[in-house]
Symmetry: C2
Subunit: 220 residues, 2 copies
DNA sequence: GAAATCCAGTTGACAGTGTCTACAAGGTTC
DNA sequence: GAACCTTGTAGACACTGTCAACTGGATTTC
């Protein structure tokens, strides 16, 4: 969505958001200030005020870019898995592996840019009562929700409301991403790889294709 | 552990930590500064430097208090449930309900003091490579880990490493607490109560006493 | 007992921050 | 051409963390 450096006459507003993303990636969330953004772009410290009412306003804008990017990553990850279950069984395709794929994409986004992820979800930084922010963050959730609905229509946890199931899965993977990014998980559970951690989360809460089909292929 | 206002000749260090907790509770994490703490205690702005090398140092100390309080709450919640399964079935007592109880206690701590919870787990604020901090945060996790071991010894997910299962459960409840405290969950999933949300999380990932015993009492 | 030392808190300074106001330059509109 | 609006500049203000110099009192040492 965010076409980058296509058009040369980029507006200052766009350049400020771009600079903010670069700062988040390079220095983390602590380095993101209105003045550092202005410095990076090469304008005076008061210039950003023409485009963002406050620092919170800039943060919300950058977070929105992050939400869109997250949503696209999840969509792409799901699309790489065939929509129809493959003849080799549900492990190879279909709706069930799409849920772990979506979760893995979520996690990869957080690990790839911890600063941006922190900005998007750090308590106290953003005001989720802001309507625009709520709308932007909704899209990624809807991706997950859609996959949950498909899995439920195929027989997984069909009696639980899909929105609640999607919320629980989101919380599960989000919690792991948060704890991992800040090092809290590694602090209490050292020598565990992120792959092992996420696999265990999936094993506990995501639909298990094997158990769903264990009447057909019990020993696989 | 933190005996409050027992001894009158409290040290300034203790009073600073106490003031920091009050500020977190009243104004949230944004209001916590070295100077605001000094003001509340009634000392000069430079006084805290005698007891804390930096603002991060004060934050770590306050977070440690939060970890201890969290650990005690979990312990207390578990202790209220009989250790031996009751004759009415596993729902009424024994190790399995202790896991949801621990999770619920964790969540209640976050909801009761969002500012302190944010301080304890906000990415970028704390350095979990700090040995003391890691040790303090370990205790609450160990509570959960112990309950997982008990549940596993009773037959729940016995093949998964207990540390990984405990980590996954922690991530699940921690994610819900984080998303709820900052309003992100409500933003995408309005009109859902925290009770419904947490019940769904438990239904997905926590051990289900009913399914474990459904050979005896299938329709309950 | 006097002197030296140390500790805890004060005070002032500095650079950095967000935000506000006044201002200037350039384009647009009537 | 004049009025106006937009956009960026420049300076000020209050706030922050951090540092160094200082002060007063308690403690230690001779």
């Amino acid at each position: 969505m965010a076409r980058e450096s296509n058009k040369d006459p980029e507006t200052l507003r766009d350049r400020l958001v771009e600079a903010a993303l670069e700062i988040l990636s390079a220095e983390g969330i602590e380095g993101l200030t209105l003045r550092s953004v202005a410095r990076r772009v090469g304008v005076s410290h008061g210039a950003p005020a023409r485009h963002f009412r406050s620092l919170s306003d800039l943060r919300a804008e950058v977070a929105a870019v992050g939400y869109r990017s997250l949503s696209e990553s999840i969509e792409k990850a799901c699309a790489q898995i065939p929509a129809e279950p493959s003849p080799d069984g549900p492990l190879e395709g279909g709706p069930f592996p799409r849920l772990p794929a979506a979760g893995r994409a979520y996690l990869d986004c957080a690990l790839a840019n911890p600063g941006l992820f922190a900005l998007m979800f750090r308590p106290g930084d953003l005001d989720f009562e802001n309507a625009s922010l709520a709308r932007d963050s909704q899209s990624a959730f809807n991706q997950l929700h859609e996959q949950v609905r498909i899995a439920q229509s195929a027989g997984w946890k069909p009696t639980h409301p899909s929105r609640l199931v999607a919320g629980a899965l989101w919380a599960s993977i989000h919690g792991l991403a948060t704890l991992w990014v800040q090092g809290a998980y590694q602090g209490v559970n050292p020598n565990v790889s992120i792959d092992e951690a996420v696999a265990t989360s999936f094993a506990l809460s995501a639909p298990d294709p094997v158990s769903l089909t264990d009447k057909e292929n019990e020993h696989e």
